[in-house]
């Protein structure tokens, strides 16, 4: 490949340290933080109408420990939180001027402060349930998280997966059908990852065996899954719903003690089995990618397949396996739609969740923890727009709904932080 040829040029001119520093400095992120921070300070704080109170409900009626709703003066709270944003911004400026990278927690902290500042402004004069808001956010984020992990496992090994949406949808479809036919939700749940693996296997065969462009195969597989599921929905699941499409759904499992923690408890620990599995999968993927020999190999394959090959790693079989693992994760996540949320399969019910998952993965910089926070942020924004619609918030919900996509564009344009995909991402490995 041409890249490798240029990499091994005989004479290497060492650039002086000042040039290296200048090259490493990316002023995009701090400037973006500054703009957003000032926006928060001015719009949500200083120029906001004063004297309003924002009320946040902290308990639901069924909670063991009842907390009084938190009522805060809207304007001062927004200002304080916005100042927090600006402090984070100042830190980012300082780091950049020193030529150091901004750590992952910085955008997360900034994002949380910014969202809270916004919330305090938007809710001013009204009351919303914080628990409900977070519950809704998590529910929306679950498929994004599964999808993002699926994409990550593939891309860390160098295979771009645009077919996440198809894998989620096929997982949702097959789990629903199998659960209906067998009359057993657990059997349906087992079928879900198998469905994901089926789609992933096609992706792997075409991209790794036949070297077809990965993005194209991904796009086409999505169309294929939409087609197959829509077709079977129209011919079987719709007309004969009783037999084919009545899976029902899992009940929520309350974890004793943990679910009694105020606010967080009912959000995190009163969930269906699928969400608990998600916690485990996030932890396992994180540990496996960054703290095991397997993870090191995967990342080596994704960053520098030639080197990995030289070290005796079978590049293409690592990739093949990872794509299948990713498929299993996404397929399992798809079951959340049918077996946890709706209790029934409907046409194109993922509604593009796979693409948002892709965005979450990128914003989370190809790390599980980052992706979880990005997915939660997107889920939160999604849920917020519907909640704010109810309390009569002035900004139209359609414009609010654009936010995650705008953020992703800003992220890939290098304005939210340094984003660097695995070096060999999307490049087929052809042994010569």
């Amino acid at each position: 490949m041409t890249e490798t040829a240029t990499r091994t040029e005989p004479e290497r001119v060492e650039p002086d340290s000042e040039t290296v520093l200048a090259l490493r400095r990316n002023w995009g992120p701090p400037i973006a933080y500054l703009v957003l921070g000032l926006l928060a300070l001015l719009v949500f704080g200083i120029f906001a109408e004063g004297g309003k109170t924002a009320t946040f409900g902290l308990s639901t009626r069924t909670d063991a420990i009842q907390l009084d709703p938190l009522a805060v003066p809207a304007k001062p709270t927004s200002i304080v939180l916005a100042v927090g944003c600006l402090l984070a911004t100042a830190y980012a400026f300082w780091l950049t001027s020193k030529g150091r990278r901004t750590p992952l927690w910085l955008p997360i902290v900034f994002g949380i402060l910014f969202v809270l500042s916004f919330l305090s402004w938007a809710v001013g004069g009204a009351a919303i349930s914080l628990t409900g808001l977070l519950q809704g956010a998590l529910a929306l984020a679950v498929p994004f998280i599964f999808g993002a992990l699926c994409g990550m496992v593939g891309e860390r090994s160098g295979v771009i997966n645009i077919a996440i949406d198809g894998q989620l949808l096929f997982g949702a479809f097959l789990s629903g059908v199998v659960a209906s036919l067998s009359g057993n939700l657990w059997v349906g749940l087992i079928a879900a990852p198998i469905a994901g693996v089926m789609v992933a296997w096609l992706l792997a065969i075409f991209t790794i065996k036949y070297f077809v462009n990965q993005i194209i195969v991904g796009v086409v597989l999505n169309v294929l899954v939409y087609g197959v599921t829509n077709f079977l929905y129209g011919s079987l699941l719709g007309p004969e719903q009783e037999t084919w499409n009545s899976p029902g759904k899992f009940g929520k499992l309350e974890i004793p003690l943990l679910s009694d923690i105020p606010v967080i408890g009912p959000v995190l620990f009163n969930q269906t089995i699928i969400v608990y599995v998600m916690y485990v999968v996030v932890a396992v993927v994180h540990v496996a990618l960054f703290h095991t020999r397997w993870g090191l190999r995967v990342r080596a394959v994704g960053e520098h397949p030639e080197a990995a090959d030289t070290a005796g790693i079978d590049v293409n079989s690592v990739r093949f396996r990872n794509v299948l693992i990713g498929g299993a994760i996404a397929g399992f996540g798809g079951a959340f739609f049918t077996l946890a949320q709706q209790g029934i399969f409907s046409k194109e019910m993922t509604a593009g969740a796979g693409f948002i998952a892709l965005a979450a993965m990128i914003m989370g910089r190809w790390t599980p923890i980052g992706a979880v926070f990005a997915a939660l942020l997107i889920g939160f924004a999604d849920n917020l727009q519907s909640v704010l619609g109810i309390i009569g918030f002035p900004i139209p919900s359609e414009l609010m709904a654009m936010t995650p996509y705008l953020l992703t564009i800003l992220a890939v344009a290098g304005l939210v932080g340094r984003i660097r995909p695995p070096a060999a991402n999307g490049v087929p490995y052809i042994k010569s």
Binding site: I215, V220, G227, N425, G426
Partner: protein, 430 residues
């Protein structure tokens, strides 16, 4: 990375002569080095082993798999299969009836309806085919032209929506004399799409962000923008709560030559777009630059071609082409703006461009084929209750098969010679 997808063929064909040279960025040394065959021989070989044969076999294979899907989901077949072991013939008969009736309905809905008595009425299905093909041609070109420059334009959907918004607005809100109205609205459609495509190109050129991610996100933003606009007073039909715009003014409606058919002048605009794209790629300096960048950006840079400028420019033009597709949709077919004006056209366009092998002529033909599938499936759904979504399956399968020639060759045990690559490769995301 122009031809990894056909590498196995290159090897088989060259007998491993230059397996090292045939990798990655280098275009495959094709048969030009061998002895020049006569025209007749070439024609015969093209017909039996070339890309035409490959495309044809892919279509056949996809339709066969579609037939299997139709058969296994048919309740009549289920009923016959329940006593399969006593009378297996019934199952096969039911399966044959199911698939053949569906495809017969598809044919009569797409090409000729033999049940009609006059030639004009019998050919009306073909007019429907062309109606469906119109936006697919323009949007397919938007994807194909980007392919040739080494970019994957997944954003035809969003570009099409922006084109429809602008053209639609000019069409229903601005009073202009006839003819001029159509031209101005069409130009507005071009500009709307071009701006949307240009944004992606500009971000790619200046910040190095991967165009796939940017265009996917721009698709969603366009969709929400349309949904929002249709709630505003400027766009929403007066006195209605539904998100839809007023109808086009008569001066902005595209002429429909055949009574009772929605076939309209938009087809002419789409074909003009194809001619323009052909001219651009084969006869202009700019197109030469685009192709050079698509074949090898490093070499293009060395030759003094600005890669970033080419990226921006080509995405601008591609967006404009998709914008024309949006304009024909709103001015010729639906005659008003609504939230699903773009249907799935932007994604179908990708399959169209792939099937058309990124050439303008191929794109037009592929769009007509997919238009025929779409028109036929509508009739099929009405007559045999086979869901229209079978088209998506067939479409996706066709593209998968032509993208992997060795697969089709293996299925038919044929020596299919791979020709033009289906699409360029690309680097990592973002």
């Amino acid at each position: 990375m122009t031809d990894q997808d056909e590498r196995p063929d290159a090897q088989a064909q060259d007998g491993g002569r230059d397996s090292a040279a045939a990798t990655a960025t280098e275009p495959k040394p094709d048969n030009r080095t061998e002895e020049e065959p006569s025209i007749g021989q070439r024609f015969l070989r093209e017909l039996t082993t070339g890309s035409t044969a490959l495309t044809f076999l892919s279509v056949v294979l996809a339709l066969l798999i579609g037939a299997i899907l139709i058969v296994v989901s048919d309740p009549d077949v289920h009923a016959a299969a329940s006593y399969f072991f006593s009378r297996p013939g019934d199952t096969f008969a039911a399966a044959w009836t199911s698939a053949s009736e569906a495809y017969a309905a598809m044919f009569s809905g797409a090409i000729i309806d033999f049940d009609e008595y006059t030639v004009g009425r019998a050919l009306r299905p073909f007019a429907d085919t062309l109606t469906y093909a119109t936006p697919l041609i323009a949007a397919g070109l938007a994807v194909a032209l980007a392919f040739r420059t080494g970019l994957l334009n997944i954003g035809a959907q969003g570009q099409l929506i922006l084109g429809a918004i602008l053209a639609g607005y000019i069409g229903f809100a601005v009073q202009l004399p006839p003819v001029i109205h159509i031209v101005v609205a069409m130009l507005a459609g071009f500009v709307g799409g071009a701006v949307w495509g240009g944004i992606a190109g500009l971000i790619k050129a200046t910040r190095g962000a991967h165009e796939v991610i940017v265009t996917i996100m721009l698709n969603y933003i366009a969709l929400f923008l349309l949904a929002y606009l249709l709630t505003t007073d400027a766009f929403q039909r007066e006195g209605e709560d539904l998100p839809r715009s007023p109808f086009m003014l008569p001066t902005a409606e595209l002429w429909r030559p055949i009574e009772g058919s929605r076939l309209n002048l938009g087809l002419l605009f789409a074909l003009l777009a194809a001619v323009y794209t052909w001219w651009l790629l084969n006869r202009s300096t700019m197109g030469f630059r685009f192709k050079a960048v698509g074949l090898n950006p490093h070499a293009a840079t060395t030759a003094g071609i600005s890669v970033p400028r080419s990226y921006t420019m080509v995405m601008f033009i591609c967006g404009g082409l998709a914008g024309i597709a949006g304009a024909t949709q709103v001015m010729g077919t639906s005659l008003h703006l609504h939230t699903s004006i773009a249907e799935q056209l932007g994604f179908d366009a990708i399959t169209v461009a792939l099937l058309g092998r990124s050439s303008p002529v191929g794109t037009v033909l592929a769009a007509i084929l997919f238009g025929a599938l779409r028109a036929g499936a509508t009739t099929m759904q009405a007559q045999t209750q086979t869901p229209i979504d079978i088209v998506l399956v067939v479409q996706a399968l066709i593209v998968l098969f032509i993208a992997a020639p060795p697969l089709v060759r293996a299925v038919f045990r044929l020596k299919v010679r791979a020709t033009t690559p289906v699409a360029p490769g690309s680097g990592g995301l973002a």
